[in-house]
Symmetry: C2
Amino acid sequence: MPIPSQRIAVIGGVAAGPAAAAQAVRSDPKAEVHLFEQGPVISYGACEIPYYVSGQIERVETLVQFDPERFQNQRGARVHVSTMVKEIHPSRNRLVAEGPGQRASEERFDKFIIATGAKPRRLNIDGEESTNVFSVRSLNDAVDIKNFLAAHRVRHALVVGGGYIGAEMAEALVHRQIRVTILDPVGGVLHRYVSGPLQDIVQEHLQKAGVQIRRERAVRFDFDAANHVSAVTTDRGERIGCQLVIVAIGTEPNTCLAKEAGIRLRANGAVDVDDQMRSSLPNVWACGDTVEVRRVVDGKQIYLPLSPTAFRTAHVAGENAARRGRGAPATFAGVVGASTVKVFGLEVARVGIPLEDASDSGFDAFAERVHSWSRVSFYPGARRLHVELVVERSRGRLIGGTVVGEEGAAMRANVLVPLIWREWRVRDIRDLDLVYAPPVAPSIDPLLTAAHRAAQRL
Amino acid sequence: MPIPSQRIAVIGGVAAGPAAAAQAVRSDPKAEVHLFEQGPVISYGACEIPYYVSGQIERVETLVQFDPERFQNQRGARVHVSTMVKEIHPSRNRLVAEGPGQRASEERFDKFIIATGAKPRRLNIDGEESTNVFSVRSLNDAVDIKNFLAAHRVRHALVVGGGYIGAEMAEALVHRQIRVTILDPVGGVLHRYVSGPLQDIVQEHLQKAGVQIRRERAVRFDFDAANHVSAVTTDRGERIGCQLVIVAIGTEPNTCLAKEAGIRLRANGAVDVDDQMRSSLPNVWACGDTVEVRRVVDGKQIYLPLSPTAFRTAHVAGENAARRGRGAPATFAGVVGASTVKVFGLEVARVGIPLEDASDSGFDAFAERVHSWSRVSFYPGARRLHVELVVERSRGRLIGGTVVGEEGAAMRANVLVPLIWREWRVRDIRDLDLVYAPPVAPSIDPLLTAAHRAAQRL
């Protein structure tokens, strides 16, 4: 067996970890790359969990892209599942791990990639550990929820948190004929995706689909004889009976290991990295949901724990960890900040800077809203399409946008991505020749109508 | 009644004409703007005709945006329907028109806007004037086809020409339970939209939907006792029986009037205009399907007789005709050249320069093709999505693209529009953060996968 050029440890096996490990092997095929995962499974899509819970995806195995053996064979990294990395000591090149049925042991590594992901935020209410209170993060969570639903008659479920996971879980449970109430004290469902008038459209859509939405905070759990949560009391003193609780109030970087190793963290707990994904220690990189990324519009560092960002930061971290001084290091180009969710057939997509954040980012901005159609309005199947463009007043350039509709909304938001990235002015955007055909888009696409109206206001 | 500042004649009332007239009034509210249309109806969508023929749009009135009176009241231009403009003499400010039941009379105008549109190309076969041979251009054509279908039992229809109108008409007729054969000698159906391997996907899709496709040319008609075409003989000597023939072999600028007025035309018959839509005569502008437009990628003038282009050139022509020396004239920004068609549920969209035209435009280019999915592949409802990017080899920039699929194809082609316009390199495109959610797109969008693979080939 040849002597490896270097030994690289990748900690975390869900999405960014495997991508970083694979990239490291590609960049330095002589390196010995080890991937550590505390759970039994690597390389899976946490984003698909709601569709597994709903039953639309039947088998949990479908969510797994690689089993450890196949990953090892095809990607060339050695995989250690059910193995907890207890400590890392980058300065003396040591990693302490505890494998299944083994005692903790120390191993030598030249370099470390932190890909420990995010962890769900907690409510911090007594009883949050009850067996009918779930978060939605790991494959275990998914299996636990589905098993609970199979074993118990759940008539009413409470979803705490109206973010995209909360909304997707609400849809999944309604799909299983369960009544659902969403509790979100801040500003209703998907308030980080839509605001103002478009927010109302989203609320009404979910309500029409049968979801109760309450702008309240959960403050106390009640329990039944089986020690299951049987009711939640809110900050308004309402008591809501339920047989299942989903807690989806956001995630935060899971970076205890990094912190204990003396790696510098940011205020929100993310590993402090540069655009090469280098941490404060010279032989440690980080990626995925453990890091923030630079938003190109305003240069701000934002936390965007989404799969595409995870993969992109993982490639940069993997390549740079493996490189040994040759060529230029890989850099992360930044993000516009694009995200979408589709619930009960409604696509809600946001790109760039929301109007309500614009002044914080130093922009004097306004929003132009257009309520149009996904196709020629009188063509069968046309659906309402709502566009909001956020425009910087002084230069007239596009800095953000939201698109909502049952058809063509998310993909239209994608059109805004390069426009925001390269600082297009709305007066130039209206000159774009976007495609037209009656079954596909109106003759003047709603994006262009919005740009035109925005330009007229300047 | 106030004395008008100027009198402007707009000739042609389908799409560009009304838009130019309305813009002229907006730009100079004191101008007297007259809109002349030879048919009885103005301001209608010719693009929707196939869906009227299919029955998906029931009433022909649905296709009409404005009746003449409402247009006159709301847009401020005077409308003359069923009025043929026989001659214009721009140098002596005269227009000769013949209204319904009137003799031709001469009127004085300061300025002229040519918006006479396009006319269908002819087969030049004896019998092309038969009452069961139709082109698809005017509202009259639409009504005639539908009336013929109501009065006759059409079992088999022949569509001559496999462009987008031919394909859409084939779909419309199949929707009415009629067997359809498309004859296209050049390169199969939609060959101007797709080529190479993607072309096969489109052919197969139409064939699965029951459409016969023959790479043959119609050379002779046979007739029945009622003098209807009853069969078509092809250049291979095949004789195909039919009860209806649609001729859809393209259109050309309808510019006889301009030619006779001494206005300079281009080789294809389009009015020779600059980017302000000015013709060779100082008081004549042209727009819509009578002009060519500049393609920004290579600076070539291309003929793109599509509704969005018609509206944009009309706004420029209307504004510039009406302006009287104040401010800067409007200019047409050019096109990337984006178009789409959706037939039998399949969206086929092309943007920029096709691979086969790249060397003509001075580019050493290659195509990168990716066969992926519209959503996460294992999410219910995911459809195959095919992407072809055309990439200039030396600078690695995107110059064209084609997207084919039953979901999200046309809108993804729209994403390429600004990318081509601003000369993005494929290596930068792969860094875009496009939206992701399992019901909407794969984690790495097919566009990004294609850009990534293209970048690796450079």
